[in-house]
Symmetry: C2
C-alpha cells in the first residue's frame, strides 16, 4: 500500500573501512537492542522483585558497550574515516551520518570515565525511587538530596563533555545535537508570548468548550481495540510492532524498523487518555518504522533527535489528530467501538472537546495552548540549577511562583507541583525538546499543506497514507543521517522557525473558541 521510497539512503559497502565500522556498529546496535528490550520488559512485564538483578544486567551491558566503544582500534578507525568521508564525494550522506554519530558516541565514551557513568546510573536508580516515594508522600525533602547529587553529577558530566557557550549546552546536545540554550531562548520567546496571549484572549472571551463527552464508562479492552484500529489507520504496521500497557505511555524500537512497539495507559473513565496517547505514540512509531531498511542495526536508524522525534508524535497527535478533517475520516471507528457513549455526540462536539483549553497544574494533561508554558517553566529552572543560581531548597517556591505567573494557578502541594515529573531523577536538558517538537511539528504541518493543496479533503476522506508517504520520503527514511537543523531545511525548506507555531496556534484556537480573527 505504501509507496516505495524514491531515494533509499545507503552506506558505501565497497569501502573496507565503512564495512569495518558497520561490522562494529552492528554488534553495538545488537547489544543496545537487548538493552532496549530489557527496558521495555521492565516497563511492561517484569516482576516487581526483579528490579535489582535487572539493574545488574543493565550495568554489565553498559560495561560491555563501553569496552566496544573505547577500543583503541575504534578511535583510529573513526579518526581516519572522519577526515575521509567529509572530503571525498564518493561517500554518501549515510556514511557521513554514521561516522558523525559513531564519533559522538566514541567521544562520550572516552570523555566520561566508566566510574562516573556507573555512578550516574546508580544515582539515577536511587533517585528514581526517592522521587517516587517523595511524590507519593508529598515530601520534597525526601527527594532533595538526590536532586542535589544529580545536579552535581550532571554539572561534572557537562564539564567533561565540553561546550562553547554555556554548561547547559553540553547536556542539551545529548538530546538535540547542535542546539544551544541561546538558540532556544530565541526560538522560545515567541512561543512564550503567543501562549500567554492566546490564553488571555480565550479567558477574556468568556467562551467555553464542553468536554463532558470524553468522560464516562469506557471498558478497557474496547479502548485497546479502538487504539489498534486508529494505529492501523495511520499506517502503523503491527507485523513489525506491538502494543502493550504501562503506567506511562512510551514508544521504543530495538535498533531497526523491524521491531517498534508502543504502550498506552487507558483510563476507564476518560477516553481521551488512551486515544490521544495511541496517536501520539503512533507518531513516534511511524517515524521509527519509516527508517530505510538499509539503516537497520546502525546508529542512524531511528529519529534524528528527541525534538525531531517529538515533532512526529505531536504532528500526528495535534495538528492532525485533534483536527476536524482527521476525525471526519476516523470518527466511525469511535462510534462503532462505543455506540452508546457517543450516540448523541456529533463530530464537531467531539473534536472541540479534544481541544478544550484549561490552565492546569499537570504538564501531561495540558492542552496545546498552555503545554509549552509548562515546558518553559522547567527550562528556566533547569538552566538556573545547572548554572548554580538556585539552591535546591528554594525550588518548590520558585516552581509555584512561576505557575502563578505563567498559568495563573498554584499547586496545592509539591506532588502536583515540582514533584510531578520523573525527568529530574535522571538528568537535565531533555524538557526543551518537547517544545522544540511542537515548533518543528507546526513547521512540517505547514509544509504538508503546501505539498497537498487539498490536504483537508484528503484527510477527511479517511486517507492518511499520503501524509505518511510524504513524511517517509522527506524525513523518516533518512533516520538520523541529518542533524535536526539540516533535516528541517530538507523537509520544510528552512531552518527551525517559531513563526509557524505562532500562526498555527493563533488560527486554530481563534476557530475553536470563536475569537475575532487577527490580521495575520
Amino acid at each position: 500500500m505504501l509507496k516505495q521510497d524514491t531515494v533509499v539512503p545507503d552506506f558505501t559497502h565497497s569501502d573496507a573501512r565503512i564495512r569495518e565500522l558497520l561490522s562494529r556498529v552492528h554488534e553495538i546496535a545488537d547489544l543496545g537492542a537487548l538493552g532496549a528490550l530489557a527496558e521495555w520488559d521492565q516497563n511492561t512485564s517484569m516482576p516487581g522483585g526483579a528490579g535489582e538483578v535487572r539493574g545488574d544486567q543493565m550495568a554489565t551491558l553498559q560495561g560491555v558497550l563501553h569496552e566496544h566503544w573505547t577500543a583503541p582500534t575504534m578511535g583510529q578507525l573513526l579518526e581516519e574515516l572522519s577526515k575521509t568521508v567529509v572530503e571525498q564525494t564518493s561517500f554518501t550522506d549515510a556514511d557521513r551520518g554514521l561516522v558523525r554519530e559513531a564519533h559522538r558516541a566514541y567521544d562520550r565514551a572516552t570523555k566520561l570515565p566508566r566510574k562516573l557513568v556507573e555512578e550516574m546510573a546508580r544515582v539515577q536508580a536511587a533517585s528514581f525511587e526517592a522521587w517516587r516515594r517523595a511524590r507519593e508522600n508529598n515530601d520534597f525533602l525526601h527527594f532533595a538530596p538526590w536532586l542535589k547529587r544529580t545536579v552535581a553529577l550532571q554539572r561534572e558530566i557537562a564539564d567533561r563533555l565540553g561546550y562553547k557557550e554555556t554548561r547547559y549546552d553540553a547536556l542539551l546536545d545529548q538530546y538535540e545535537p547542535g542546539m544551544t540554550a541561546n538558540k532556544l531562548d530565541q526560538l522560545f520567546a515567541p512561543v512564550r508570548e503567543i501562549s500567554l496571549t492566546m490564553l488571555r484572549r480565550i479567558q477574556e472571551s468568556g467562551h467555553t468548550v464542553d468536554a463532558s463527552c470524553l468522560s464516562g464508562k469506557f471498558p478497557l479492552e474496547e479502548q485497546v481495540v479502538l487504539s489498534k484500529r486508529l494505529l492501523r489507520g495511520m499506517g502503523y504496521d503491527f507485523s513489525f510492532g506491538g502494543i502493550a500497557e504501562s503506567p506511562h505511555p512510551f514508544t521504543t524500537s530495538f535498533g531497526s524498523p523491524f521491531d517498534v512497539r508502543l504502550t498506552i495507559h487507558p483510563d476507564k473513565h476518560f477516553i481521551q487518555a488512551a486515544v490521544m496517547a495511541a496517536i501520539h505514540e503512533g507518531g513516534h512509531a511511524l517515524y521509527e518504522q519509516g527508517s530505510a531498511q538499509t539503516l537497520a542495526r546502525t546508529l542512524v536508524a531511528g529519529g534524528a533527535s528527541m525534538g525531531a522525534h517529538e515533532s512526529q508524535s505531536r504532528l500526528w497527535e495535534n495538528p492532525i489528530g485533534r483536527s476536524l478533517p482527521y476525525w471526519q475520516g476516523q470518527y466511525a471507528a469511535v462510534l462503532e467501538t462505543f455506540p452508546e457513549q457517543f450516540a448523541n455526540v456529533d463530530i464537531s462536539t467531539f473534536v472541540r472537546a479534544l481541544n478544550k483549553v484549561q490552565p492546569s497544574l499537570i504538564r501531561i494533561e495540558a492542552d496545546e495552548v498552555t503545554y509549552n508554558l509548562h515546558i518553559l517553566i522547567r527550562f528556566e529552572l533547569e538552566k538556573a540549577l545547572i548554572n548554580g543560581d538556585v539552591a535546591i531548597e528554594s525550588l518548590p517556591g520558585l516552581w509555584n511562583a512561576k505557575y502563578r505567573e505563567y498559568l495563573g494557578v498554584e499547586p496545592p502541594n509539591d506532588a502536583q507541583g515540582v514533584l510531578q515529573d520523573v525527568h529530574w531523577s535522571s538528568g537535565f536538558g531533555y524538557f526543551p525538546t518537547y517544545t522544540l517538537g511542537n515548533l518543528y511539528a507546526a513547521q512540517i504541518f505547514n509544509a504538508l499543506h503546501r505539498a497537498f493543496p487539498n490536504f483537508d479533503q484528503q484527510l477527511a476522506s479517511g486517507d492518511t497514507s499520503f501524509i505518511l508517504n510524504w513524511l517517509r520520503e522527506k524525513m523518516y527514511s533518512f533516520g538520523a543521517i541529518y542533524q535536526p537543523e539540516e533535516l528541517m531545511r530538507r523537509v520544510t525548506g528552512e531552518p527551525p522557525n517559531p513563526e509557524y507555531f505562532v500562526r498555527y496556534l493563533t488560527h486554530k484556537f481563534e476557530a475553536v473558541y470563536d475569537l475575532p480573527r487577527t490580521a495575520n
Copy 2:
C-alpha cells in the same frame, strides 16, 4: 509463609580466585539473562517481522559470550581452581559446583570453534523454519535435507566434545551431566516393560474412563484466573514471576530466582490444557524460584539438569497434580471459576478424567502410562541417527512401525508422525531427559511419602507448603551445585532407580482402572 532454608549454600568469598571467578561469571550470567529475555520475548511478544534482526542480536550475544569464555585468563583461573577446590576442605560444595560448571562451559567454548557454533545456530534457525513448513504441509521431504545437515553437525559436535563409550553420550551429557546411553538403556528397560504391561492390562480389562467433563466452553480469561490461583496455591511467587501466553507452554528464568516466568496456552474447549500446563510449568518455576539467593547470577542457580528439571514439573503435574488428595484441597477453585461447567461433576469424576489412558499419536497429549513409550521411540531413533545406522529417508517408515509396535496406532500422515516435535530441528540428546524426569519424580514422590506419613491428609487439607518447604530444603536451594546422580542420592538416599516408577505406575493405574492388585 515459607520456612527459611536451614542450610544456605554459599561461595567462599574470602578467596580471591573465587571472587575473580564470580565476577566473571556474574557478567556472563547477566548477558545470558538478556539472551533468555530475548527468547522469552520472541515466544510471547515479538512481532513476526522481527525474526531476522532478533537472530542477529542473538548471534552477536553468542559471540560476546564466546569471547568471555575463551579468554586465556579464564582458562588459567579455572585450571588453578579446579585443582584447589577439590583438594582443600576450606572450599564449599557451592565452590566446587561453580568451578565444575564453569569448566564445562569453558571446555565447550574452547572445543567447539566459533564457526561451528555459528553454523549450528544458522542451521537451527533454517531447520526450524523448514520443520514448521514441512509439518504444515505434511511434507517430510522438505525437512529431510535440514535434518541430514543437523545430524552431520551434531555428530561433528559430539566428536569434538569427546566421549568414552558412544557418540550419543557427548550430546546427552550437555543436558544430563554424567548420563550415558548405556545407563539409560538399563534405566529405561523396566519403564518399557511396565508401560506396555499396564497398557495391555487396561485395554484387556475393558474398563473405561469418562473424560467428557474436561471438554466444553471455558472462557480464556477465566482459565488464566484459575491457573494463577493454582500457581499461588503451589507457592509460586508472582512478585518474582509472571504468566503469559505462547503457542507452547514453557518456563524460563533469567539467571536468578528473582525473575522466573511461565507461559500457558489455554484451549477454549478443553480445560485440561491450561490447568495441567500451569501446574507442570509451575513445577519448573518453583524449582527455579527455590535456588538460594546466594547463587543468583551464577551458573549454579537453577536446575541441576534437564532431567532434574523435568522431575519437578512432572512431580507437581502427575503424582501430585493428578491425585485425588491434591484436588480435594483445590477443587473449590475449579468450582468457583467454572460453577456451571462443573455443577454436576464430583471430585473423583474430575480426577479420573485427568487420568484417562488412551494410546495416541501425539506425545504432548499422552497420559502417564503411554508417555514414556513416545520417548523410547524417539530415543531409539536418535541413537540410530547419530550412529549412522539409518538413512534420513527411511525415518518416517521406521517411526510409523515403532508406533504400531509400541502403541498399536499408526500415524495417518507425517505431520502427526515424525514431524510432530520441534526438537530435531535443533539437535539430539534431549528427549530421554523427559523420561528421566518421570523416573526421578516417582523416586522423589516416594521419599516425600516417607518423610510425611500423613502426606495425603495434609495435601487434601489444601496445604502444599510442606511439600515445597521439603523440596527447597533438600533440593531446590542447591541449584546445580550437585550433578543429577549425586542430587538424587542426597534427596532420596539412593541413585536413580526405575523401580519407584514401576511401582508408582502400577499402583496408580490399578486404582484408576479398578484392576486386580498385583502382589508387589
